[in-house]
Amino acid sequence: GESVGLHLPTLSVQEGDNSIINCAYSNSASDYFIWYKQESGKGPQFIIDIRSNMDKRQGQRVTVLLNKTVKHLSLQIAATQPGDSAVYFCAENNPVAGTALIFGKGTTLSVSS
């Protein structure tokens, strides 16, 4: 199964399920977006990025979808594994503001086997 919806602070799935993590970004001028994974006690780790001229980008087991109309970003993880358990953050960059990334609220993904 899979879970969709508005931003949730936590998401619990079974191993093998597909996961969907949502993010609403704040600035309509932002044109670059990244998903980061943060494991307990560690720094954020890059997963996948997308620029505003794209609606979808796929990586290995992950897909990012961008809906600029509603300022919504989602991360889809296929066949979720226990090692995917972490906090996931979306981050945006507004070119007017420079190169800094602004992070959204995180979603804690818990995968049970």
Partner: protein
């Protein structure tokens, strides 16, 4: 694989004391950043540094904070007189390119600051 390294991993200090957090960014990167994360909250941007000067800073980065790249490898964050609310995990990050290049930032493992 090259990585961003930070020291110390954990520092405990008394309120009012000065703290210096150190970072060694990835060697060929040009953009350097400090972020902080209060326990359980989101990652917040503090400052970015390029070409030996601050290029952007947030409201959090007030006069108590300063950054320096004293040599070709280290990038430091100094908090002049720590407050209780400065307790957080501080992340250093570095990036390779200008806008138009990859904007990916590589983060260190963080330095946990506890102010008593």
């Amino acid at each position: 694989e090259p990585e961003v390294t930070q020291t110390p991993s954990h520092q405990v200090t008394q309120m009012g004391q000065e703290v210096i957090l150190r970072c060694v960014p990835i060697s060929n990167h040009l953009y350097f950043y400090w972020y902080r994360q209060i326990l359980g909250q989101k990652v917040e941007f503090l400052v970015s540094f390029y070409n030996n000067e601050i290029s952007e800073k947030s409201e959090i980065f007030d006069d108590q904070f300063s950054v320096e790249r004293p040599d070709g490898s280290n990038f430091t964050l100094k908090i002049r007189s720590t407050k209780l609310e400065d307790s957080a995990m501080y992340f250093c990050a570095s990036g390779l390119g200008e806008r138009g290049d990859t904007g990916e930032l590589f983060f260190g493992e963080g330095s946990r600051l506890t102010v008593l």
